[in-house]
């Protein structure tokens, strides 16, 4: 331990939820600027890293806890941060400044933060402890609910009446509606039981609630309002919950009940420690988030601030930022709760902000309602009709993101223009947010911060602004607005926001792909004559460049136009595709024979070894389970290929925007854990997709079991074996910004797997931007991963058959591209060193010996010119390496 470590003060955080995560993130980010004053220990009751509870419902479709992980998981690997999972704190000793965990271990603290959050409230209804009654708060709750519904469905299949699982949700608030959506996603029936007069009565008014009910009914979810649940009764047969009895005498048969009637702060530690507790629970704190104990703070849903606990994430984040600032000597105070909310239920849009109930004296309400369409919009304005106080949006929330930040500001023009169908476009378009208007409430980012990301920090696109400001990186509901501000600002500073490929084409890659496909044109000249951009005063669009030509080469290849070096196509190919090998720093090439799935025979190894030896090539094992041979001169390439072809190999696409490799683990044939033959699947996939040209490079991986030794989730398409078949993940990559692939579909048969990957790849190839990898592309697809899933699994665009056919054309048309060169004298003639001395090696090439192999000589070695190895004529192919 260094002396600096000894001087560090110890911060203990109790609770590992979203507020705790934000506190540590903010503290660490700022503390490292000041050399670090804090050692941080976080004690979480749940066994997971902090996850995005707001997005809990998505766990139903994703089924992957990783996807809910918050922020950068690397936060917990930092040297002065420790996360103790599954380590509930049992007591606080304020006198000794110590806490004791469930294992009986005690921990000293200098400062203590309570971030224990809430638990789901369980109303005292008789029968609330029956099997089949659930709350909706943690990943475990969601997993248990899912398991129950699936088990009930299996039971139902054997029964005399094959009926769906019947579910009820008690509570018609935000969480209750999400739970009902979750039940529907599990193919269960859902009825929402609401005690109050209308749904979401804490956020929206009666008019909005009625419109919302219509929208919810459209999702085949039943709603009972003004209903008290008196008792939950067990089924006589099973003892599980079987019926709900209501105060009005009504009954409802059920197989599962979700209780979502609200949350209660987890303030038991604070109570036991003798801290002041609010009227309705929660540790009382002042605006600096201090409790009455000078060394104890409280943040998030457990904190009773301004007299109440707030069950929303944005105020919790704000409190976390306040405490981080105070711990570092700042004077921040809680800015007041932003209680704006947005329902995250697919196809049902509800949002409200500010004074949604018009409680401000003399305030005015402007309402637009279309009951047929299920639309209700209301603005609450000050008595003079000028200042925006709040709003409610149901069915059409387009204006929400733009208007919410203007709460408290004067709205220019007629307020009704912002919510009436004809006016909304004009009104919103002219809006200019003040710099201090909050845009992203999750991360507390103002419009001014976003503007300065463009004007001062040089961000030139939405992705850059997101990375720089964190705006839109949590719940994402503000993204349209972030994008709008970013675009406006970019235009102001003169950065043209254009998706034009280059000076020759005003189209994006995806637009050009469609144009070429529909127009059925097959050469670059036809394409640029027809779709190229002709500047004013110029006679034509010119002859392309190193940007658009490779894009068109890729498009033509994807649409099946023969060999990539046929005719004019050869002039379009980028550096490596141009000679079908990888150019290295000295202008020579590397050759990577295809080894499908990484499976190779001993004889195959000998062939590659002998070729490398005969041509004096440096060899190295690649990251994609291949063998790379370096130092091949352009005029040697055909000879090397010929040797490979003679022995049953082909060279491989270790270059270009194309399928690279399919990596695999050894799988069930040898591995004692493997559950499927991952090697056979990898070989099949590589042979199927080899030669496929795409917007960026494509890598695949196949693992034979959940241990994932092939690291398939680091690939664009990762396949992981299960007992029942294959799970397929998409959108992973290594490189500059590593990404984990996300689950697209589960338990597929081999046939279903191929069809799914066929469609995924073909949809990507047709619609992605130039150099856009699958991860970024998925984000850009409308609806994200879910949108992609709808297109390729549910055929929501009706293009699945077309995608299938395009892929089957590719698979059928594939030929060994290198062999085709060997068989074509015209193409072969390009592989000469000099037109007037076709076999003379580049006289400037020079190599030094290192670790028994060659490498290009450094400039210093060239100047000294001692003992360098020079290439010799092609007839004697060998470069001798002296030991």
């Amino acid at each position: 331990m260094t002396s600096a470590d000894q001087q560090r003060r110890h911060l203990v955080v109790i609770g590992g939820g979203m507020a705790a995560q934000r506190l540590v993130e903010a503290l660490v980010a700022r503390d490292s600027d000041t050399d670090g004053r804090w050692q941080v220990s976080v004690f979480a009751e749940e066994p997971l890293k902090p996850y995005d509870r707001v997005a809990l419902t998505s766990y139903f479709s994703a089924r992957d806890a990783d996807e809910l992980t918050l922020g950068d998981p690397g936060l917990w690997d930092q040297p002065h941060v420790r996360l103790y999972r599954d380590r509930k704190i049992e007591s606080i000793d304020r006198e000794a400044q110590q806490v004791t965990d469930r294992l009986g271990e005690t921990w000293n603290y200098d400062e203590l933060v309570l971030a224990t959050g809430s638990s789901a409230a369980m109303p005292p209804i008789p029968g609330n402890d029956l099997p089949g009654v659930f709350v909706y708060r943690t990943i475990d709750d969601v997993a248990a609910l899912r398991g129950w519904v699936e088990a009930k469905r299996e039971e139902g299949k054997g029964a005399r009446f094959d009926r769906p699982v019947r579910g009820a949700v008690i509570g018609g608030g935000l969480l209750g509606l999400e739970a009902a959506g979750a039940l529907k996603a599990l193919d269960a029936q859902a009825t929402v039981i609401q005690f109050g007069t209308h749904l979401m009565d804490a956020q929206i008014d009666l008019g909005g609630g009625q419109a919302l009910k219509r929208l919810i009914n459209d999702k085949f979810i039943a709603v009972r309002t003004d209903t008290v649940t008196q008792e939950m009764r067990p089924s006589r047969r099973t003892g599980h919950v079987g019926r709900l009895d209501f105060g009005d005498g009504g009954r409802l048969d059920v197989d599962v009940v979700v209780v979502a009637t609200g949350v209660r702060p987890r303030d038991e530690l604070a109570r036991d420690a003798g801290l002041a507790i609010g009227e309705r629970g929660g540790a009382v704190v002042d605006l600096s988030c201090h409790t009455e104990d000078p060394h104890i703070w409280a943040i998030g849903e457990v904190a009773c601030i301004e007299g109440r606990c707030i069950g929303l994430v944005a105020p919790g984040y704000a409190m976390a930022e306040v405490v981080a600032d105070r711990l570092l000597g700042g004077q921040a105070t809680f800015p007041g709760a932003d209680t704006a909310t947005k329902l995250k239920l697919q196809g049902v849009d509800v949002a409200s902000f500010g004074d949604a109930f018009a409680r401000t004296e003399d305030s005015m309400e402007i309402v637009y309602a279309d009951p047929v369409a299920g639309i209700y919009k209301k603005l609450v304005m000050s008595d003079d009709g000028k200042t925006l106080l709040g709003g409610v949006f149901v069915g059409d929330v387009a204006a929400y993101a733009s208007l919410r930040p203007l709460q408290g500001s004067e709205l220019p023009g007629d307020p009704s223009s912002y919510i009436t169908p004809t006016g909304s476009g004009d009104g919103l378009a002219g809006l200019e947010l003040p710099d201090d208007a909050g845009v992203c409430s999750c991360n507390n980012v103002s419009a001014g911060t976003i503007r300065s990301a463009v004007t001062e920090q040089g961000c030139t696109d939405l992705a850059g602004v997101k990375a720089c400001t964190r705006a839109g990186t949590s719940c994402g509901s503000c993204l349209p607005l972030v994008k709008k501000i970013t675009t406006t600002e970019l235009e102001k500073v003169g950065v043209e926001v254009s998706n034009a490929l280059c000076e020759h084409f005003e189209l994006s890659r995806a637009q050009l792909f469609d144009a070429v496909r529909v127009a059925e044109v097959h050469t670059f000249t036809e394409i640029i004559d027809r779709f190229g951009y002709v500047p004013e005063g110029a006679a034509d669009a010119g002859r392309g460049c190193d940007i658009c030509k490779p894009v068109i080469a890729s498009i033509l290849a994807s649409l099946g136009n023969g060999h990539i070096l046929d005719g004019e196509q050869e002039t379009l190919q980028d550096t490596n595709d141009h000679v079908m090998a990888n150019m290295q720093k000295d202008g020579t090439y590397s050759v990577v024979p295809r080894v499908p799935g990484g499976e190779i025979t001993p004889d195959g190894l000998l062939v590659i070894g002998q070729v490398a030896k005969d041509f004096g090539l440096y060899t190295k094992i690649t990251g994609g389970q291949r063998i790379d041979m370096f130092g091949a001169r352009i005029e040697q390439l055909p000879q090397i290929w010929r040797r490979l072809v003679e022995h049953g190999f082909e060279s491989g696409h270790a270059y270009g925007k194309s399928l690279r490799t399919v990596k695999s683990c050894v799988g069930s044939t040898w591995c004692r854990y493997g559950v499927q033959d991952s090697v056979a699947m990898a070989v099949e996939l590589e042979l199927r997709y080899r030669g496929l040209r795409s917007p960026h490079k494509l890598k695949l991986g196949v693992s034979g079991c959940a241990r994932e030794c092939a690291e398939a989730r680091g690939k664009d398409v990762g396949v992981i074996a299960t007992d029942k078949g294959w799970n397929v993940y998409v959108g992973g990559n290594g490189g500059f910004t590593p990404r984990h692939a996300k689950l697209l579909a589960e338990d597929l048969t081999s046939e279903e797997l191929l069809r799914t990957i066929d469609r995924f790849l073909m949809y990507y190839i047709r619609t992605a931007d130039r150099l856009q990898r699958t991860a970024a592309w998925i984000e850009d697809v409308e609806g994200g991963l879910e949108g992609v899933r709808e297109v390729i699994m549910d055929d929501s665009l009706g293009i699945a058959a077309d995608l299938d056919e395009a892929m089957s054309r590719h698979v059928g048309a594939y030929r060994d591209e290198w062999r085709a060169v060997l068989e074509d004298p015209e193409k072969l003639s390009r592989f000469s060193s000099f037109v007037n001395a076709p076999t003379t090696p580049d006289p400037d090439l020079a190599y030094a010996s290192e670790r028994g192999q060659i490498r290009p000589a450094t400039p210093q070695e060239r100047d000294a010119d001692e003992d360098l190895i020079r290439p010799v004529l092609i007839a004697g192919t060998t470069l001798e390496v002296r030991a």
């Binding site: 460049c545 190193d546 150019m583 580049d842």
Partner: protein
């Protein structure tokens, strides 16, 4: 028959520079918009034939990497100017003057970022380049 484009270029060269025309190859050996390297008096050059059948010669050495690869770059245009892009790091050079038009964030490893050029003429379908005695970039460009 002399090529129109090449004629213009040779006329631009002022004065009777002490030089000789060297036959390099048949024009038919050059693919349109696809370069090829040539070795003339020990000097490596990259020859490019454009759509109008004009032929241009620039140095084969890429000033930004020091590798002899310019003939393998993509031919195109920038605002109508015929160009080649370096295959290594994608700088863009004029095929007429050799000037580096776009260098990105790279610095050349050579003294000049521009490419040396040679005069070219096509006689009876044979490509000739003018090889100046002890020629340097200045000699050719002046």
């Amino acid at each position: 028959m002399m090529n129109a484009g090449a004629t213009t270029r040779s006329e631009q060269t002022s004065g009777p520079a002490p030089s000789t025309w060297v036959a390099v190859c048949q024009r038919a050996e050059l693919g349109v918009e696809r370069g090829i390297a040539a070795l003339v008096d020990g000097q490596q050059m990259a020859l490019f034939r454009l759509r109008d059948d004009s032929v241009h010669a620039v140095q084969q050495r890429d000033p930004f990497s020091g590798a002899n690869v310019m003939s393998r770059g993509i031919v195109g245009t920038r605002q109508g100017e015929p160009t080649v892009a370096g295959p290594m790091y994608k700088q863009v050079f004029s095929l007429r003057t050799g000037a580096c038009l776009e260098r990105g964030s790279y610095e050349p490893v050579d003294d000049s970022a521009d490419l040396r050029t040679w005069d070219v003429q096509v006689l009876d379908g044979v490509v000739h380049v003018r090889a100046p005695h002890n020629g340097s970039v200045e000699d050719v460009k002046s």
